[in-house]
């Protein structure tokens, strides 16, 4: 294949991948009428002021519920992924670096957990949570998000490959406790895997739809995806929501793109861990 053919393929697909996002950005700077009446892929003369006005109404509509949704998503995904990564990393690390009875059994059970569809879990979880009166609370979405079998899997193979047993032996001889060794030595060596687990869990929770959909009734508890979904399904009755859905969609993807860009250096080296062995 020639260089120009390769560049052509990549160029065409760049358009495919970026045009929808570009359209979203452009449309966010238009009024409801302009979205259909002006050039769809280019800005209007007063784009900036319209964009700011849209942003203003996004955050004031319905007593500023959109801000709540963003904060909820940040809590579910940010704190959830942070704690979830720590919990998965500890388990994966123990499975990789210690020999104990039941180790393989635990690993196999966790692995089969990777294959269980999350949506198959959501319904029984709803029934269990309604028994203990936890549906329609933050906990109903937050607690199940902490479990990441894939995170354990990734942590295990990465710890096995990147934390030398000799180093752990040396730390032991120096009198460092197992827990302290994990937090001061091993987590540093596992950093790329930890960032990868964090990011993918963050995205998984941020994108999660079914669990909040069936758990939450009260819209102040919604994550941003469920909130926008609710708005979008009301567009036929309340047409002015169309602009808010579009500008809200743009605002809701910026934190993810920002997080990926900021952490890119770290996760790209950990990404291959799941497949190359």
């Amino acid at each position: 294949m020639s260089r120009s053919a390769a560049m052509l393929i990549m160029g065409v697909f760049t358009l495919y991948f970026l045009t929808p996002i570009w359209w979203l950005l452009v449309s966010s700077s238009k009024t409801g009428g302009e979205i259909t009446s002006t050039a769809p892929l280019w800005f209007t003369a007063d784009s900036t002021s319209t964009f700011l006005a849209n942003l203003g109404s996004l955050f004031t509509y319905g007593d500023g519920v959109f801000g709540r949704w963003l904060a909820n998503s940040a809590l579910y995904a940010g704190l959830g992924a942070l704690l979830g990564t720590l919990i998965a990393a500890m388990c994966g690390y123990a499975l990789a670096k210690y020999e104990f009875r039941g180790r393989e059994a635990i690993f196999n059970i966790v692995l089969s957990g990777v294959l269980v569809p999350a949506t198959a879990l959501a319904l029984p979880l709803f029934l269990i949570f309604s028994e203990v009166k936890l549906t329609n609370t933050l906990w109903a979405v937050f607690l199940p998000s902490l479990v990441s079998p894939f995170g354990v899997y990734l942590a295990r193979i990465y710890a096995a490959a990147s934390v030398p047993t000799e180093l752990l032996e040396a730390a032991r001889l120096d009198g460092s406790s197992e827990i302290r060794t994990f937090f001061t030595v091993s987590t540093r060596l596992m950093a790329p895997a930890l960032v990868t687990i964090f990011l993918f869990q963050f995205v998984a929770i941020w994108n999660n739809f079914f669990l909040p959909l069936i758990m939450l009734r009260d819209q102040v508890l919604f994550p941003v995806t469920l909130g926008l979904y609710a708005w979008n399904s009301q567009i036929s009755q309340i047409p002015e929501l169309r602009v808010l859905v579009i500008v809200g969609a743009l605002v809701s993807i910026l934190p993810l793109i920002g997080t990926f860009l900021a952490l890119q250096r770290f996760w790209s080296s950990g990404l291959g861990a799941g497949s190359v062995k």
Binding site: A6, F17, I21, C91, Y93, L115, E178, S252, S275, K277
Partner: protein, 312 residues
């Protein structure tokens, strides 16, 4: 190299390490292992194991009423629900629909991901970093948002591509499945590309030099050396794609506000959701169990089939 699900992670036994040293530290290590494993173990039990058991139990119960208006009571019904599952034509239509979806969409998506990964890894491209980010960006768009965006792009009245959408109605009953397939492809190609690409980066370059000395062309190197070496990564992405296909929910559910062609039982998960909101939890639980088993079986068969092919 070929084992994807269980990479050989057994620690290499330290040659000549005195055995008694290990025995001395066992007590502290055992406590540490417990502290490391317990948090995940408890959460896994509570939010994976218990719900699965609960779903199985629920699927075997059935609601009985004394008279027409008597209080409902759950009694053991055996396989009554499963009988209903197998007689439910809407559910099986939805299963057939996602299987057709998967057979077409997954190979296209993974084929593209492989092509892009190979191009990124080849000396042909300039601006690799840009392409990597541009192709991966859609992965940061949540499924619901992606469906909303594409819903607008598909809509004849709103689409910037009205030259196309006035001719072809992507939201019609015939095409809407492929409209969903396009959204899934758009979101996940870059993600799969990166997984394959990072395993290409892990291949030692001496292999290529040796091949080049033997007179291999770039294409031969890609097809005969690189592709076989990234098969484990492709299998991994394949398994995730199969799981994802059977789980389709957010995108079709969101597209329903753009297209009347998506029924409330369009995908198996939508059927589960619809059944649960009737509410018939017992039948919904039986659907979930059947679906989870199907996911397991398909992923397993895929793993076995691809691994056999590889080892030949």
């Amino acid at each position: 190299m070929l084992k994807v699900t269980r990479p050989s992670t057994a620690p290499v036994p330290a040659l000549g390490a005195p055995k008694n040293r290990k025995a001395k530290t066992t007590g502290a290590q055992r406590r540490a292992v417990f502290l490391f494993v317990a948090p995940f173990g408890v959460l896994f039990l509570a939010f994976y194991a218990v719900p699965i058991i609960f779903a199985v139990v629920q699927s075997l119960l059935t609601v009985e009423r004394k008279g027409t208006f008597g209080p409902p009571k759950q009694v053991f019904g055996g396989f009554v629900q499963y009988q209903q599952v197998f007689q439910n034509s809407e559910f099986w239509e939805s299963v057939g629909r996602v299987l057709l979806f998967g057979v077409v969409q997954v190979p296209i998506m993974l084929g593209l991901a492989l092509l892009f990964a190979l191009l990124l890894d080849s000396p042909l491209l300039k601006g690799k970093k840009f392409f990597r980010l541009a192709f991966f960006a859609p992965y940061a768009v949540p499924g619901v948002i992606a469906a909303i965006m594409w819903g607008f792009l598909y809509s004849p009245s709103l689409s910037p591509f009205d030259a196309i959408t006035s001719e072809v109605n992507f939201l019609s009953a015939e095409l809407v499945l492929w409209a969903v397939a396009n959204i899934v492809t758009w979101v996940y190609v870059g993600y799969n590309m990166l997984i394959i690409y990072s395993s290409l980066l892990a291949i030692p370059t001496e292999i290529y030099e040796a091949a080049r000395l033997d007179g291999a062309s770039n294409f031969q190197i890609a097809w005969q050396i690189k592709v076989p070496l990234v098969v484990p990564a492709i299998i991994l992405t394949g398994v995730f794609s199969i799981i994802g296909t059977l789980q389709l929910l957010a995108k079709p559910q969101t597209l329903r506000s753009f297209s009347s062609a998506i029924s409330s039982t369009f995908t198996p998960n939508l059927a589960v959701y619809t059944t649960a909101s009737v509410p018939n939890y017992n039948l919904a639980a039986a659907f979930s169990v059947v679906l989870a088993l199907a996911t397991f079986v398909l992923s397993f068969v895929f793993l076995k089939a691809t691994q056999r092919k590889v080892s030949q």
